[in-house]
């Protein structure tokens, strides 16, 4: 197998007795857009900072094209970072900020100027090149920070929560702009975010972390459809999680008896579930259909409507069964307009057994 571009090999970072990063190994290929995602304190930012050389791993090795990177000072690396708070130099103009990295590399003034002009033009900040950064809005500062990093024409760009300081409408625009930049430049993007919607919208691959360890690595789609464990299933949102007692059926599927009633799903390929043992079933909320009457096919659960939530063109219906089990179903607004639901109304929640999956172990 070819050498991966970036490789983290059993990397850990301890602060006294506390492990910010406990044991992290993964590889990143050239040109990938990878999101490091997890709740605050999960170690994702520390991992990013170790790639940039701003933090030193306590143990383990970080390699770039197979070469050990641990001892390289941050200024010897080619991994510019776009900071959450931008970290622009307030005593320099927009232009001088963008030129900063180029100047450190000893580029002659004329070339610096040309490159800075190009990147400011590309990111739409050329019109305030001579302004001070304190005269810019948040969105404009972000563009300066991006231009400052990209002007170095690096082989990877590091982004630390690049969207969290922006207004919601700007966030969506910047998100698609980052995706476009990534596609056009063909360089590696490593982005830290706590938001699964951002990570899933932008990244080719998502690394989900919790308490300093990797929980799952995969394409957004796979993580959504095949959460590796309960933490991931809960963190990515939009999942129904049912627990109960498992029983193997004659056809090889598993019946789960719990608060939700008795429902079926295929047995996991990894095994790990035995008849009479506990099991956890995940059913994505967008796979649950709502009907007025039972048809007797697939998994069916009788429930009452508790709340109906409208977010954009998606409607989330929160349900509760007789036994007190909570469910949620995500349907399109279009579909819900034809069958309006009232709070307290009895409905049948239905899904095909193939749409659910058991968590391993």
């Amino acid at each position: 197998m070819a050498t991966p571009m970036i490789e983290l090999d059993r990397v850990a970072k301890h602060y006294g007795n506390h492990a910010a990063v406990a044991d992290v190994s993964f590889t990143i290929e050239k040109g990938e857009f990878v999101a490091l995602m997890g709740p605050s304190g999960c170690g994702k930012t520390t991992t990013l900072r170790m790639i940039a050389g701003l933090d030193q791993p306590t143990s383990g090795e970080i390699r770039l094209w197979g070469r050990r990177l641990n001892e390289d000072a941050p200024w010897e690396r080619d991994a510019p970072l776009v900071w959450q708070s931008y970290a622009l130099f307030p005593f320099l103009s927009v232009r001088r900020n963008v030129e900063f990295g180029l100047k450190q590399r000893g580029l002659p003034a004329a070339e610096r100027r040309k490159k800075a002009d190009e990147w400011m033009e590309r990111l739409g900040i050329a019109s305030f090149a001579e302004r001070g950064v304190d005269q810019l809005s948040g969105g404009q500062r972000q563009r300066v920070a991006l231009a400052r990093a990209l002007a170095l024409e690096p082989e990877m760009l590091l982004l630390d929560e690049p969207l969290s300081a922006l207004d919601p409408h700007l966030r969506v625009r910047m998100q698609s702009e980052l995706v476009r930049l990534h596609r056009e430049l063909g360089i590696t993007f490593i982005c830290v975010t706590h938001s699964h919607s951002e990570a899933f919208a932008m990244a080719d691959r998502v690394v989900i972390m919790n308490e300093g360890r990797i929980q799952q690595i995969g394409a957004p789609r796979d993580i959504h459809r095949r959460a590796a464990n309960r933490f991931v299933a809960e963190f990515v949102g939009g999942n129904n999680i049912f627990t109960g007692t498992a029983r193997f059926e004659d056809d090889g599927s598993i019946a789960l008896a719990g608060l939700v009633g008795t429902v079926h799903a295929p047995a996991p390929m990894e095994g790990g579930i035995v008849t009479g043992g506990a099991a956890t079933l995940v059913v994505p909320a967008d796979r649950i259909e709502l009907a007025g009457t039972s048809t007797g096919a697939g998994n069916e659960v009788q429930a009452r409507v508790v709340t109906v939530e409208f977010v954009g063109s998606t409607v989330t219906v929160f349900l509760e069964t007789e036994g007190g089990c909570e469910l949620r179903a995500q349907r399109s607004l279009h579909e819900m307009e034809n069958t309006p639901l009232a709070v307290g109304q009895p409905v049948v929640a239905r899904w095909s057994p193939q749409q659910g999956f058991f968590l391993p172990g």
């Binding site: 970290a87 001088r96 590399r105």
Partner: protein, 302 residues
């Protein structure tokens, strides 16, 4: 002091009908008045008196109220005043420069390279010199540099001495540094500690090595604090009497020595006042210029 104490009038005034703003204004006046009165009593009034006295005259060694420009004409035209002015200004500026440069590595170390506990301890140690009165510290410095002092006792056998520091301008500058250096280190440490750490990291991240970062990011970011520290050193040195007298040997005299001389020989308070007013005006101009440097929009250099 004969100044009336500020009387809080908030208690008797009925609160009904008074706006919140008025209450806040009264609150500000109540707490702001004591320091304002103090300044008025012990700074502005004596200052006014000092300025007034420059127009008085001395007859038969007695101070007489007058309205003459003779003191101003005499002092401003006197060669000894002009020489002392240039000399004092030069030594003070030199002290500010030396203190600023000498303090920087120490301040840098304290701000960035030591643990918070060590920093706290070292900051405490920097305050310790102020426990002893300044003349006492200058006397001990005098002993250090005396021909039979510790320094020459070590240097002479090594063939490096004797070092002539006492009764020279060097001695004066050494004394000024004894006075100013701990303070400059303190002020610079606070200035550097307030530089956002993220800017230093951003510079490193963009390929700027440790030493270059000092020039390109740390000094520009801490500019205000560093200039204030240097200005403080200048102000303290410019007005100091002890170091030029006991370490500099009064020759050539500084402005503060001139003041003392004018008063001692001939009881000439008005002429001394002219020198004092000139010093105050100089310090005000220096402060204004330095504050302009510190806060003004800096022209960027490539």
């Amino acid at each position: 002091m004969s100044e009336p104490l500020p009387t809080p009038d908030t208690g008797s005034a009925p609160l009904k009908g008074t706006s919140r703003r008025a209450t806040e204004a009264r609150f500000a006046v109540f707490w702001g008045a004591p320091p304002a009165l103090w300044q008025a009593a012990f700074f502005l009034v004596p200052l006014g008196f000092l300025v007034a006295m420059t127009f008085w005259s001395v007859k038969n060694f007695r101070l007489t109220p007058d309205a003459t420009l003779a003191n101003w004409m005499f002092i401003l035209n006197a060669g000894f005043f002009r020489n002392a002015y240039v000399y004092t200004f030069w030594l003070s500026a030199l002290t500010a420069a030396i203190a600023s440069v000498a303090a920087f590595p120490a301040a840098y170390t304290l701000a960035y390279k030591v643990s918070p506990a060590v920093r706290r301890f070292m900051i405490f140690m920097l305050v310790v010199p102020f426990f002893t009165s300044y003349p006492v510290r200058i006397y001990s410095t005098q002993i250090f540099f005396s021909p039979q002092g510790i320094i020459n006792t070590v240097l002479v056998p090594l063939g490096l001495g004797p070092l002539h520091v006492l009764n020279t301008p060097t001695g004066t500058v050494v004394g000024y540094l004894v006075l100013t250096l701990p303070l400059v280190v303190l002020l610079q440490t606070f200035a550097l500690a307030n530089v956002p750490r993220i800017l230093i990291e951003a510079a490193h991240n963009l390929g700027c090595g440790r030493l270059r970062t000092i020039w390109t990011v740390i000094i520009p970011s801490a500019r205000i604090g560093l200039i204030v520290a240097g200005t403080f050193a200048f102000v303290l040195a410019f007005g100091d009497y002890v170091a030029p007298t006991y370490l500099g040997g009064s020759k050539p005299p500084t402005l503060s020595i001139l003041i003392a001389d004018q008063v001692k020989s001939g009881n000439n308070w008005p002429r001394a006042s002219v020198v004092a007013v000139m010093m105050i005006v100089t310090l005000m101009v220096v402060m204004l210029v330095m504050i302009g440097f510190a806060y003004g929009r800096r022209k960027e250099k490539a």
